[in-house]
């Protein structure tokens, strides 16, 4: 698109700038729509598991439920508690929301269709997702209230703990892929298993690691069974207790944006991203973005399924899982996988 703008006589820099801006809008706006639809989908999944009907009143099959909720939230009054730190209080949801969006810059939707095809894509994702915790911490602290503060402390500890094991999991995956570039990671999965299956996840050495990543990504997005930051029986609503109106909605949008992102990352890192499941020519006729969406929806179903069925962890159990089980396990797999690759791929 940069070239197209240049044909109007605009300099390269400004045509790149405009093209990138349009690219951002093309990703961000459908993402907002996707969040609305995914909330509806999740409520339908929970309803099906609990043998209920779920939202079915607003619009055909209740499809417009999320939009009705959004409209309701937007029309409410934004309440800022008098003892709250006003600037930070309003900044926190903006941080959460922004961070949830910026990570999408490096997600490849199809071969070559990615906003920023940088060679440190994976590190960018780690960097951006590590910023996400600030929204929660700042919200909890600036509310100047007990429960949000507890929630912020829990969130900080949880996020830092699980980022450690996520880091090692990704090291394992990168050892196989040999690159930090997201498109490169997906392309390396082409015919990975027996020259036919496009997925790292079915590799016996990487399958346990992919499960660790799936569970860690639930912890990273504060989803059940790890939603201790908003455990309603202990902390009212956690860090968002004092929030109302659009500031509350921004937390929700950010949270679900992160969930969709984690589904995409699970699909990209271990299950072939935009590649079809099998390396068979007719399957490539379907555009890559469709395959990516199918995989993302599959992971989203798992997320919803877990949320509907698994009871919440205790905080010490959460920490034990992160530090005493996932960390040694992923560390052992780093050694195992690098040893195996030295024997087979890089040795001799």
């Amino acid at each position: 698109m940069t070239a197209w703008f240049q044909s109007f006589g605009i300099t390269y820099e400004w045509s790149w700038f405009t093209a990138t801006l349009i690219g951002i809008l093309v990703i961000a706006l459908p993402l907002m729509l996707a969040v609305a639809m995914i909330i509806y989908a999740e409520r339908k999944i929970w309803a099906a598991i609990a043998l209920r009907r779920g939202p079915n009143v607003v619009g055909p099959f209740g499809l417009l439920q999320s939009f009705a909720d959004g409209l309701k939230v937007a029309l409410k009054e934004t309440i800022v508690p008098t003892s709250a730190n006003k600037g930070l209080f309003l900044l926190a949801p903006i941080i959460t929301f922004t961070v949830a969006l910026i990570v999408w810059a490096v997600v490849p939707f199809q071969p070559g269709v990615v906003l920023a095809d940088i060679n440190v894509g994976l590190l960018y994702i780690l960097a951006a997702s590590s910023l996400g915790v600030y929204g929660v911490i700042i919200a909890g602290w600036s509310s100047n209230s007990k429960y949000p503060f507890y929630s912020a402390l829990r969130a900080a500890a949880q996020m830092v703990s699980y980022e450690v094991s996520i880091g090692f999991v990704l090291v394992c995956m990168v050892l196989y892929a040999g690159t930090f570039n997201m498109t490169g990671i997906v392309e390396m999965q082409k015919g990975h298993i027996l020259g036919f299956v496009n997925a790292f996840g079915l590799n016996p050495l990487l399958f346990p690691i992919s499960v660790v990543f799936l569970i860690s990504s639930m912890a990273e997005t504060f989803r059940t069974p790890f939603d201790l930051t908003e455990a309603e029986s202990e902390l009212v609503a956690g860090f968002q207790t004092e929030y109302s109106s659009m500031s509350f909605a921004l937390f929700w949008l950010g949270e679900y944006g992160n969930v969709i992102l984690m589904c995409a990352l699970n699909a990209i890192f271990f299950w072939g991203g935009y590649l079809p499941p099998f390396d068979w020519a007719p399957l490539y006729a379907i555009p890559g973005i469709v395959w990516l969406f199918i995989k993302m929806l599959g992971f989203f179903f798992i997320f919803g399924w877990v949320r509907a069925t698994v009871p919440r962890y205790r905080y010490d159990q959460l920490m034990r899982l992160g530090w005493k089980i996932f960390l040694p396990l992923s560390l052992a797999f780093v050694v195992l996988i690098s040893g195996w690759l030295m024997l087979t791929r890089y040795g001799a």
Binding site: E13, L123, Y134
Partner: protein, 203 residues
């Protein structure tokens, strides 16, 4: 043009937030300004083309160190007036550190102006021949393997030392034993009875 704009944006925000770290009255605000300074420093590093270092700065400092820092500062019960009373007493010491840092920066810039540092006759690597990550990895794991491993070992020792110093088993605390909790079965704790009406049950 855009790179220049970005440079001035990052540079201005870095300096402004660094100043605000010192002048903010609330320690939590100070830490938040510090985080902003880190983040903009990463932006500056990114502009020089060292994308790997920039990402590491964000992951390590913004994502982990500053979070723990914020964590501690938020929980401190700080008396603000006593914090400021030591200002004049600590001023000479602070000025001395600032002077040393300034001198080091001047020396570093001067040395860099005098000519690039080439380690013992090694030729400078061809620019753009390999990616930054590859070049860094090759350098770290071949030429600088022993210093790198030593740094890792020192960190490991420090980590173990911190755990040994702070961890103590207290007799008066009942901990959670996950294995015992998991291996517990319903029949160990409950009993099915068929009480006869009017007889009551024995507990």
């Amino acid at each position: 043009m855009i790179a220049l704009l970005a440079f001035y944006l990052f540079a201005t925000v870095t300096i402004a937030s660094a100043v605000l770290v010192i002048f903010a009255r609330n320690p939590v605000h100070s830490v938040l300004w510090l985080i902003l300074a880190f983040f903009n420093a990463a932006g500056l590093i990114l502009l020089t083309g060292a994308e790997f270092i920039a990402m590491l700065l964000v992951i390590v400092y913004v994502g982990a160190v500053a979070v723990l820092f914020l964590f501690v500062v938020m929980m401190l019960d700080v008396d603000f007036s006593s914090l400021r009373s030591g200002f004049t007493r600590n001023l000479p010491f602070g000025l001395m550190i600032a002077l040393v840092l300034l001198a080091e920066i001047v020396i570093a810039v001067g040395a860099q102006q005098a000519g690039p540092v080439l380690a013992r006759g090694a030729a400078a690597p061809a620019v753009d021949a390999v990616s930054n990550i590859e070049a860094l990895g090759t350098a770290l794991y071949t030429r600088y393997l022993i210093p790198f491993e030593l740094a890792g070992l020192i960190l490991l020792v420090a980590m173990i030392g911190a755990i040994v110093l702070t961890h103590r088993s207290r007799g008066d605390v009942r901990g959670q034993n996950a294995n015992r909790q998991i291996s517990r079965r319903p029949q160990d704790a409950t009993r099915n009875t068929r009480p006869v009406s009017g007889e009551g049950v024995t507990l």
